[in-house]
């Protein structure tokens, strides 16, 4: 009797399964969206300081704006650095001093020595950095950021979508970077915001 | 007494004469009585498998067959023993269901095939919606014989010759694999397909 019931159950299950079968076929379409990060300057990344008096201070602060487009769902870490030109070439110009981040600007008319830049970054005496003067990064707006001392650059955290990153540089010169051996005229530093940690 | 004997003889003779069909050629009396015996024939279907199914994936059917018993005291001069067939068409009524080499054409009974489709299937073409042809084999016991022929009188038919035999069994078998090109899953609608075969003795 038990066996009969088992067989009956199997039959019922089989018939039910057969009754629910429907002829069908499928095809999957698959596409891949590659990662996309686009960084472009909205305003010039070249910061120019025009020293016109003996204070070394500027009439107005400087700023540079970047636009970042990212299709990542995760926050992207970008790298913001500044460079300036010495007789040693294109060198990193960001440094921290006394808890603040500064950018060193090199004289355009007379390219300073590499040692001059190094002295400025190391916090030497005003006369130790002829042709190099430094101004503070007052803020970075539009995205979270963190200055990495060991690298001499900022990590900037850009989320999904379009992000405008503005770097604001103050007009008050770093006192121990400016002396009488820093002539009036144009001093320059160039900002770059990159995906790669170069 | 003499009267009784005569009557008994008469009874015996009458019995012999009337019982000729069942016991012909077996004389019970030495005195033969000459009379005109009319030829007679009996045809009956003795076994058959007349229904089956077709696998739609390939047109193969489950097998069909029929056996007929033929008894006659007639000869091939007295009768034409013929096996004819019919299939129902949409636009021509009943027509012969034979094709090449005596194969048998089956027609959809709900979506009737056209005469054009039937004619196409006869010659093994592939433009024959709702017609499927299967091979047909016929056999008959010795000394009788059977063959496919196109007769002016009867059209396409399988013709049986008794060859002076008096009893034989005709066996017909419908092959399971369709004649090439006559079955197509796209052309032949689902449903019942039919062919009718008739074994007839026609007095000449």
């Amino acid at each position: 009797m038990n066996i009969f019931r088992i067989i009956l159950s199997i039959l019922v299950c089989t018939i039910s399964a057969l009754a629910s079968y429907a002829e069908s076929a499928r095809m999957d379409f698959n596409i891949t969206l590659p990662g996309y990060v686009r960084i472009e300057p909205v305003t010039s990344p070249v910061l120019v300081a025009n020293i016109t008096d003996r204070t070394g201070n500027l009439y107005a602060p400087m700023s540079s704006k970047f636009r970042v487009i990212s299709n990542s769902k995760d926050t992207k870490t970008l790298y913001l650095q500044a460079n300036t030109v010495t007789d040693g070439g294109y060198e990193n110009a960001m440094f921290e001093q006394g808890g603040r981040v500064y950018i060193a600007f090199a004289n355009l008319a007379k390219i300073p020595k590499s040692q001059s830049l190094a002295n400025c970054k190391l916090g030497g005496q005003p006369k130790d950095s002829p042709g190099v003067v430094a101004y503070p990064v007052t803020s970075i707006s539009g995205a979270d950021s963190k200055f990495v001392v060991s690298k001499g650059k900022y990590e900037v955290y850009a989320g999904n979508g379009t992000t405008y990153v503005t770097v604001n540089v103050g007009s008050n010169v770093l006192k121990n970077s400016f002396a009488s051996n820093d002539p009036k005229g144009f001093y320059q530093a160039v900002l770059s915001l990159t995906e790669a940690d170069i | 007494m003499k009267n009784n004997n005569l009557i008994k003889s008469l009874i015996l003779i009458t019995t012999v004469l009337i019982g000729t069909v069942q016991a012909y050629g077996y004389a019970e009396v030495e005195q033969s009585v000459t009379t005109d015996v009319q030829p007679s024939v009996a045809i009956s279907k003795i076994t058959s498998q007349e229904t089956g199914s077709i696998n739609p994936a390939n047109g193969v059917n489950t097998g069909l067959s029929a056996s007929f018993k033929l008894q006659t005291n007639g000869t091939d001069e007295d009768y034409d023993f013929i096996v004819t067939s019919s299939i129902l068409s949409m636009d021509g009524g009943e027509v012969s269901a034979y094709g090449q080499n005596g194969c048998l054409l089956f027609g959809n009974t709900t979506s009737l095939p056209t005469v054009t489709a039937i004619e196409n299937a006869r010659i093994g073409g592939n433009e024959n919606r709702n017609v499927i042809a299967y091979p047909l084999t016929m056999g008959i016991t010795n000394p009788m014989s059977v063959g496919f022929t196109n007769s002016t009188q009867y059209g396409d038919c399988w013709a049986v010759k008794v060859n002076n035999g008096t009893e034989g069994t005709l066996t017909q078998t419908v092959g399971q694999t369709p004649v090439v090109n006559t079955y197509s899953v796209g052309q032949d609608e689902a449903g019942a397909y039919r062919a009718t075969v008739t074994f007839t003795a026609v007095s000449k």
């Binding site: 379409f29 990542s72 | 009557i7 007349e50 089956f106 689902a190 075969v197 003795a201």
Partner: protein
């Protein structure tokens, strides 16, 4: 019993006996018939004859658009021996709820329509899809869901020359065909439908599935 009575009885019996088969008389059977009937069962087969290739996507300037690099083409084949056969083409894409119907915007003969693709690894909410399939998509309200054009080209391979009918049935195509063999070439190519693509559509694998089926899912 007298022989005179026996004779008629004997005659009657003999005539009765010979009546079983032909004796040249009125009830002779000189013909018999076999009526052969074969039942051809219903048959329906739906198969994917060709699977579509996968493709990368290229972006317009500043992520303004997404274009499929290589047209993706798949082919269904439907074989039926039924006088009339209904079947359906359904599109689905992965969503947080499982899958969501993703076909919309069909033209009159259902040969040109649109299909929504969604991200596979973390599928979006169904609302991202319905924002598009509703017919008035809004950029930003369909994250990780992108619609592309889909074309369907039917072709009669065998069977009577009767026409295939295709009608839009809420969220799928309903086909009716006569017995025969029909193929359906389905191609996704081109650029995204307007308002369905933005940076909210994050990088990764996206998928949409077409199913040809006997029953309305």
């Amino acid at each position: 019993m007298k022989i005179t009575k026996l004779l008629p009885i004997t005659l009657a019996l003999l005539l009765g006996a010979t009546g079983v088969y032909a004796a040249g008389g009125a009830d002779a059977q000189s013909q018999d018939t076999a009526v052969y009937t074969l039942n051809l069962a219903d048959y329906l087969r739906i198969a994917t004859e060709t699977e579509p290739n996968a493709s990368d996507v290229s972006y317009g300037t500043e992520y303004s658009s997404a274009t499929i690099d290589t047209a993706m083409t798949g082919v269904f084949k439907v074989i039926s021996n039924n006088r009339t056969q209904d079947f359906y083409l359904v599109g689905t894409c992965p969503t947080a709820a499982g899958t969501t119907k993703c076909l919309y915007g069909a033209d009159g003969d259902c040969k040109n329509l649109k299909m929504v693709f969604t991200k596979i690894d973390v599928p979006p909410a169904a609302t991202a899809v319905t924002n598009i399939t509703g017919g008035s998509p809004t950029t930003g309200e369909n994250p990780d869901a992108i619609a592309f054009p889909l074309t369907i080209t039917p072709n009669r391979e065998d069977g009577p020359d009767e026409s295939l009918s295709a009608t839009w049935d809420t969220d799928k195509i309903k086909y009716t065909m006569n017995n025969g063999i029909e193929t359906f070439t389905c191609t996704v190519s081109g650029s995204n439908e307007a308002q369905t693509f933005s940076t909210h559509d994050t990088d990764g694998q996206y998928q949409a599935t077409l199913t040809m089926t006997e029953t309305a899912l």
